[in-house]
């Protein structure tokens, strides 16, 4: 074992060695280590390079707020993760890790040249450096930015892990398992309330884990913890570790991300890696503690410089001394305990450098006892050491005067600039904060949710105060739950209370303009950058933040926000609360996309709706396409056929004899009741009063704005019953719209609406021989053209099944649509296939359906229309009941912009060279005009037509109806196509085939 690890100390298992690699080199750590503590135990401080300047960086914290020690971890194929915080990643056997932002290697990085080119990267460099000349953008700036931007490497493979999600309802959720959270839980659990206590660390205890000398209720801190956690378990409290409360949303809805397997040597097969909990809590206690602030001075980012509290954690929790010769720089009492603990563990304390002049005598005495030199009223003005700190330069400060410097050698420099209450979750709720001038920090003020904030999270310091506050929060929550609980006295011995002061940059005798005094380590923002931003006119903290990127890294400024604010406020000569704080947003810490997606990926991303005939299509080699949530047979290729060949064959077979098509996905709504016809008259553009029972009609639905929303054939089965069909994707929207009008505008109408889409299987039969195929199967109905003409509907029996039979056509051929109860759909299909064998019946898919309808100029709502197309634009004026006093959208059809000239209108297009146009291609009138050309429309539908022997297209073109016969131009990458404007009906314009 290395000399930095103290045998027997800490909460790690000294009997269990775990080996891992970092940048290819194998290291030994202990079970219970993080990657950071294990590397420190091996004397390794250099863990990464910074984002912008590629400066060597070491670990600064021991928690999830870590800005520097970001590593890539590998858990096997497809399981690479960038930007994992080395302070959070627990050691497991065979863990492979690597440092980031370095090239070619961590100890020698060519990118560090950026460090010399500081001026290029100062505040606002995104806006300034890369502005000019324009020609530099493609060749110089963008490749440079792409190369430099981003932390770590993105994984390149699909994440093979599973992620889970769960709902949880509870009376009380406590966030943070430190002293305050445990105290609150102890009180609340005894009241009988359901309590959930969560903590992001592998074990509960918070700061107590780093302060074993503290005694509570007469017990050592760790023994007390064991005791109380058992008590909580016995009381039925749900204790969740490795669980981060990432977001706090409305009405006490809190999202928790639980990490389940990343710490295991061999995760169970198929176990989820992470689980997202959606918690709804009646009451919430936020006991998230406080985060230590760095001090800001030149060279405060060298490897070996870290927070004093972190060093204390490494020592007491992991048994790791962070150095042999440790200097301590502080403005807060808490750092003294780190110094004392390290001194007692055998490190030399080079000095305690305190920015304050007045220091508590008990701390001075304790330092003296240990032979530690305390420098009062001193500033740090520089550090030395390339890959690890070698010395710190300190100067006495007297008023404005900075005295002569002194160099203190050290191999680690601990710093404490005081503590910031962790109020991120509270901020998510839009809870307001108020500035506390005494502690130079923001404290929680007005609450918007049923929550209670306890402990260091609201600025308290020392275990006695924090425990008492936790009890109080627990009692308040219990009271809000209308339960009763007893207060509890939790006496503390060896407490470590303390206070401190805050600073902007520490005073220096050198030119502040040359200092690299970092405020935001992760985004490489210095104090100078912040002052420059203010000089260049930024006044609001939100502007300063965006201009400098301070606090915009993945740690959301957990360490930098208050320091940044103090400096910006100083530069603006304002009080910090007048400058304000930037907003924290979820998630609290970076969270994997997998955890958010949960089960919703791959096949379970969205449900796939299948028709009753889908198994037949699958068995017969159909190629499928998704249409809304449905999967539909697209075409049925035979051996050796591509899509083009299959579709051409299907089209020809249907026009020549008979084609069969699964139309079950059509939306179906039953409109029933005494006022059904009145309702239909008001909803649809068409007149319905005189449509006789047994007849059907094409129906057109508009929005109140006059634009086409949906269409479909509607059959009147009896005076008070309509069978409405909608587009496949529009069914739910149309029903919602109908319900809206029925419930809120015309509640007096006696009408019932029922979705019947999934109750009916629908088979379309088309072609000159369609009747011959169908007739033998039909009972109770004469299918002859006089008795059952085009646009008829009847109830009858088909293949022994109860059926609603429509005679209609979406192909231009003699056509029928047979609806039978869904469970019989496959039986009907098979009976028709059998009956059609003599007529070479041909199953076809959606592509052939599209071609056949386009040859006839039948529109598809949503393809040939786009939400700005009126019936006039689409050439559907004939579908409007002109005599009706009103219907949805009627008034809009006389709006000035809708009757005006130059609207885009639907027309047909035929290219002069016989080539096929691309759907979506833009249309211009004059191809010789200068760029950018005026586009007058676009191609909406385009197909090869086997029937006609040439391609056909539909398009919307400005004033298109007045341009019949004109030539328009379609510029494409390989040249401009000339196309002639035609009618949209390309085939059988007289409609003779329909009436066969």
């Amino acid at each position: 074992m290395s000399r930095y690890r103290i045998t027997g100390r800490g909460r790690v298992d000294h009997g269990a060695t775990v080996s891992f690699t970092f940048d290819g080199k194998t290291y030994q750590g202990l079970r219970g280590d993080t990657v950071a503590s294990a590397l420190l135990a091996n004397g390794v401080h250099l863990m990464g390079r910074s984002f912008k300047y590629h400066r060597p960086r070491g670990v600064v914290t021991a928690g999830s707020e870590e800005p520097n020690a970001l590593i890539g971890t590998t858990r096997g194929p497809g399981r690479f993760e960038p930007n994992t915080r080395a302070t959070v990643q627990e050691l497991r056997k065979g863990l492979v890790t690597e440092s980031q932002n370095k090239w070619p290697r961590l100890s020698f990085d060519l990118g560090a040249i950026n460090d010399r080119a500081y001026m290029l990267f100062s505040a606002g460099f995104y806006y300034k450096t890369f502005m000019w000349p324009k020609s530099f953008w493609d060749k110089v700036y963008e490749p440079f930015i792409r190369n430099a931007a981003g932390l770590g490497k993105s994984p390149t493979e699909v994440d093979p892990d599973r992620y889970a999600s769960r709902n949880l309802h509870t009376d009380l959720l406590i966030v943070g398992g430190g002293a305050a959270g445990i105290a609150a839980a102890l009180v609340a659990a005894r009241s009988g309330a359901r309590v959930v206590l969560v903590d992001e660390n592998p074990e509960m205890g918070g700061a107590l884990l780093s302060d074993p000398a503290v005694k509570i209720e007469g017990q050592g801190a760790w023994a007390w913890l064991d005791d109380k956690l058992s008590e909580l378990r016995a009381l039925g409290v749900r204790l969740m570790t490795r669980t981060t409360a990432i977001g706090y949303y409305h009405q006490n809805f809190v999202a928790l991300c639980e990490r389940l397997t990343d710490h295991l040597d061999t995760p169970p097969a198929n176990a989820p890696r992470e689980r997202m909990w959606h918690v709804r809590a009646n009451q919430v206690v936020l006991a998230q503690g406080a985060l230590e602030k760095p001090l800001v001075y030149d060279g405060n980012d060298r490897p070996g410089v870290m927070l004093a509290g972190a060093a204390q954690t490494y020592l007491n929790r992991y048994g790791v001394r962070v150095g042999d010769n440790v200097a301590v720089l502080t403005s807060h009492d808490s750092a003294y305990h780190a110094a004392f603990d390290l001194a007692d563990a055998g490190s030399r304390i080079a000095a305690v450098i305190d920015t304050r002049r007045d220091i508590r005598t008990d701390l001075l005495d304790a330092a003296k006892q240990r032979g530690i030199e305390v420098l009062r009223g001193h500033s740090a003005t520089g550090t030395k050491g390339r890959l690890r700190i070698k010395s710190v330069r300190v100067n006495p400060v007297q008023g404005d005067k900075v005295g002569a410097s002194r160099e203190i050698s050290c191999d680690a420099l601990l710093m404490s600039g005081g503590w910031t209450p962790s109020l991120h979750l509270f901020s998510h709720t839009k809870g307001s904060l108020s500035w506390d001038a005494d502690s130079n920090t923001f404290l929680p003020d007005r609450k918007t949710e049923a929550c209670h904030i306890a402990g260091a999270g609201r600025g308290l310091w020392g275990y006695a105060a924090v425990l008492e506050d936790g009890v109080k929060a627990g009692l308040a929550a219990v009271e809000a739950l209308s339960r009763t609980a007893q207060p509890r006295d939790l006496p503390v011995e060896n407490d470590r209370p303390g206070t401190g002061v805050s600073h902007t940059e520490l005073p220096t005798d050198r030119s502040p303009g040359k200092a690299k005094a970092f405020v935001d380590y992760q985004n490489d923002v210095t104090a100078k950058d912040l002052r420059l931003a203010v000089r260049e006119g930024m006044r609001s903290i939100e502007h300063v933040k965006r201009y400098t990127t301070n606090g915009m890294a993945t740690d959301q400024g957990k360490m930098s926000n208050i320091n940044g604010l103090m400096i910006a406020a100083d530069a603006l000569a304002k009080q910090p609360p007048q400058v304000g704080l930037t907003t924290f947003r979820p998630p609290y810490t970076p969270t994997s996309f997998g955890a958010f997606a949960g089960y919703l990926r791959g096949e379970t991303f969205q449900l796939t709706r299948k028709t009753p005939i889908d198994p037949w299509a699958e068995a017969h080699g159909a190629v499928f396409e998704p249409v809304a949530q449905w999967r539909r047979a697209w075409y049925f290729p035979k051996a050796g056929e591509d899509m083009h060949a299959a579709v051409a064959r299907e089209c020809r077979a249907t026009r020549a004899s008979a084609g069969i098509f699964d139309a079950s996905t059509l939306g179906k709504i039953e409109v029933a009741g005494p006022d059904a016809v009145e309702f239909m008259n008001r909803m649809y553009t068409n007149p319905w009063t005189r449509l006789a029972a047994g007849r059907c009609r094409y129906g057109l639905l508009l929005g109140e704005d006059g634009f086409i929303r949906d269409d479909g054939v509607i059959g009147r089965l009896s005076d008070d019953l309509f069978h409405v069909t909608t587009t496949t994707g529009g069914a739910a929207r149309v029903l919602n719209m109908m319900e809206d009008y029925l419930q809120t505008e015309w509640p007096d109408l006696n009408v019932w609406l029922t979705s019947t889409t999934e109750q009916w299987a629908t088979v379309a039969l088309n072609g000159p021989n369609a009747r011959k195929v169908l007739e033998p199967l039909v009972e109770g109905l004469d299918l002859s053209d006089d008795r059952f003409p085009h646009m008829s509907v009847a109830e009858c029996t088909v293949a022994g099944l109860p059926a609603r039979l429509f005679r209609l056509s979406f192909t231009g051929e003699l056509g029928f649509e047979i609806n039978v109860p869904a469970r019989h759909g496959l039986k009907l299909w098979e009976a028709l296939m059998e009956s059609g064998r003599a007529h070479d019946i041909c199953p076809y898919g959606t592509e052939t359906m599209h071609v056949l309808r386009a040859e006839k100029g039948y529109i598809i709502v949503g393809q040939d229309t786009d939400g700005t197309v009126t019936p006039q634009d689409a050439g559907l004026t004939w579908a409007i009941g002109q005599k009706k006093p009103d219907f949805v959208g009627k008034r809009s059809l006389s709006r000035p912009d809708i009757v005006g000239k130059g609207r885009k209108q639907l027309v047909g297009l035929l290219t002069e060279d016989g080539s096929q146009l691309e759907e979506g291609a833009q249309i211009v009138l004059d191809p010789h005009q200068s760029l950018p050309m005026k586009m007058v429309g676009h191609v909406t539908s385009s197909y090869a037509s086997a029937t006609l022997g040439h391609p056909i297209a539909m398009a919307v073109i400005e004033g298109g109806h007045d341009r019949m016969g004109e030539v328009v131009h379609v510029p494409m990458p390989d040249g401009v196509r000339r196309a002639r404007v035609t009618s949209t009906v390309f085939y059988d314009p007289e409609g003779a085939r329909l009436k066969a």
Partner: protein, 100 residues
Amino acid sequence: MLLIHCPYCEETLPEAEFAYAGEAHIARPADPSTLSDEEWRDFLFIRTNARGTHFERWRHIHGCGRFFNAARDTVSDRFLTTYKAGKARPDLSAVKEAAE
């Protein structure tokens, strides 16, 4: 995720069961043909966009299917009350007092 009280089901349920349906109390004119272009434009497109209390419609689309009205604060997102379609705007003074 908000919790929403359906005045028909008389239950408070997660937002995922509901769909937003625009501003409330905008009745379709009884005879649109008598409206001027400007009046019709206002009916179609002009909305309050309130900062603060906003009267709006929701549908309990994955529940009872009913449209209903709500008063909601657009700053805090909080529901002040919900009420059945066709009812007049409620007096919110009591609700607001309780919320403060």
